[in-house]
Symmetry: C3
Subunit: 266 residues, 3 copies
Amino acid sequence: MVAFDLKSLLENLREQRPLVHNITNYVVMNFTANTLLAMGGSPVMAHSPDEVEEMVSLAGSLVINIGTLSTHWIESMLLAGKKANELGIPVILDPVGSGSTSLRTSTFRNLVRELKLTVVRGNASEILSIASDSIRTRGVETAHNTEHGLETAREVAREIDAVAAITGPVDLITDGTKVIRCHNGHPRLGTVTGTGCAATATIAAFATVTHDPLEATSAGLAFFGLAGELAGAKANSPGSFMICLLDAMYEISPEEFQAKARLEAT
Amino acid sequence: MVAFDLKSLLENLREQRPLVHNITNYVVMNFTANTLLAMGGSPVMAHSPDEVEEMVSLAGSLVINIGTLSTHWIESMLLAGKKANELGIPVILDPVGSGSTSLRTSTFRNLVRELKLTVVRGNASEILSIASDSIRTRGVETAHNTEHGLETAREVAREIDAVAAITGPVDLITDGTKVIRCHNGHPRLGTVTGTGCAATATIAAFATVTHDPLEATSAGLAFFGLAGELAGAKANSPGSFMICLLDAMYEISPEEFQAKARLEAT
Amino acid sequence: MVAFDLKSLLENLREQRPLVHNITNYVVMNFTANTLLAMGGSPVMAHSPDEVEEMVSLAGSLVINIGTLSTHWIESMLLAGKKANELGIPVILDPVGSGSTSLRTSTFRNLVRELKLTVVRGNASEILSIASDSIRTRGVETAHNTEHGLETAREVAREIDAVAAITGPVDLITDGTKVIRCHNGHPRLGTVTGTGCAATATIAAFATVTHDPLEATSAGLAFFGLAGELAGAKANSPGSFMICLLDAMYEISPEEFQAKARLEAT
């Protein structure tokens, strides 16, 4: 297990109630805002090119999420991201659906090129969608469980020059050198829309209270996965699971978080 | 009662987890996605003209929903719909609010003219809003319960050249010749926003597992109505009803669906 | 306590099921619609400049909410607001985030200048963000609890020429002369996104059944705060609280509303 001080991170988060600026997709805006509120942060959603630079300047971190993308939002993502880079504010990217359409894949590539990203979180096919051919052809399915997969994850992180978080049954978190596996999670998370996007937001929340992106990502995914476990112990179906998930993010104490996070250095 | 093999349809749906592409309104995006996930499908929401053709090509069916309409979305609806027509992918239209503003009524008419629609679902006033004057003046209120109403529904279906589903206390489903009545449903469905839109999405989900649009529509409305009945037996107020409704869509087994659907050929 | 006939207001609302037209932010559209449905109204969300004038003409009141603002929506807000003014339909403004970015602050100012607003609801920093310098520098923090604060609220209401509702632990409602304090509410309301926006919508709902904006605002905030109290008695965490809140808005009877509203004239 990894020796992060998760207890202090969560205590600090709840004390500071940091503003997290989200440029995210329409489907998950409400659930993401409720996730951030429940865990102890302060969400704001703003996407207009006329205000994103000003808004991100007030924030502790920025989430960029390319679900329900349209071209005029990309300008705002770049404006906000560049201002965040200028001010040293962490930028967390969720490349939703990259690999499924060329608009999303090229936007992911564009954001990687134009911005200094702190963390990129997605599933294996999303994260590998912009990797070089040699990495990609080794295949998505190996990313999680094999030594081969570990090396693929490291290479992708180096290519995108950010911490890469490849989520799945086991989450892989790597800065290109170190790799951490997060074992928290629950299969029922897949039955509710926006849980991946919400996990990205929890990373952004923790990125406001630590300068180590590997720690922020590990904390975010462990926290969200643990909330899933606690909700899964109470609710068998997706509607009530979704509600229990929000409840759990509010109820997890710093001590419980420290005790139940299952992060493994490899 | 009608002899559809609803058990097999639901089994196939849950096995295949078909992608349903939604171009829908902001209000219901989250609830629609959760509806599709709960019942066993895979939702994707995408509306940019730069990706809808590519996205719909990956999908088993397309939902077009004109709530929160704005003019630049109409272009995307037409692009996606034409591509779906070209590829033989079913297109399910929900003409939300047609009849209330000329933008919506003319858009409904435009979509009927430009696309080959598979199913159109709405309430009586929405569906009748683009019917010819002679049909419309006979009145919306007669559509559900009278023989006169049945003939009106048939004529509308022939005019729009698609299966018409006129939902209300009893749902009428017709291809212009045959008429099926669906008796599943619950009055509390009217206390939650987006239940009509979600019913449309369930039709789209079933349209991925049968080529018969009358069967897909009957299955979708019976399934959604049954979920409403099960939720209504547990929850008396709209917040908890909404959650029980999502739970029910996950919990209904293929056998229960077959046993409790109340579809009547007329 | 103030002698409004809250029982009759709620009875009339539930009997008439008035249409409330919302031009509001993406984050809260679903929750606002569910709030209006649960309490007894009929929500519609529409933002296109091509239909807002027609839509508002059908409505009993109009909500304008500037969260997730972008410039092309401002045109629609002005079109809808001017048509509402022309027809004598109440306009309720929620200046979300005014004071945080210049786009929002200038839009709030613009709407105040161009429209005749009926009620403006926000927290102290939002409401005071467009007050003249002499008012603003006296500070936000004094608005709620001091005599000084009361006079500030009155001056702001006179400046914006509308009833001002400054919500917080205690809500201040003033037309520039009279001041009403609403003591209903619950701290857990702050753990769910969009509760402020939903409170604004409840004011809009009551504005369809009384011509007195002070009464409509008092009724809306007392109703919403009471629903928060009832939900808070049942649920300790934000997910289940949100659901209980919707349930409570459906369950509050006219008699209970009259009995438990805590409105105080000062």
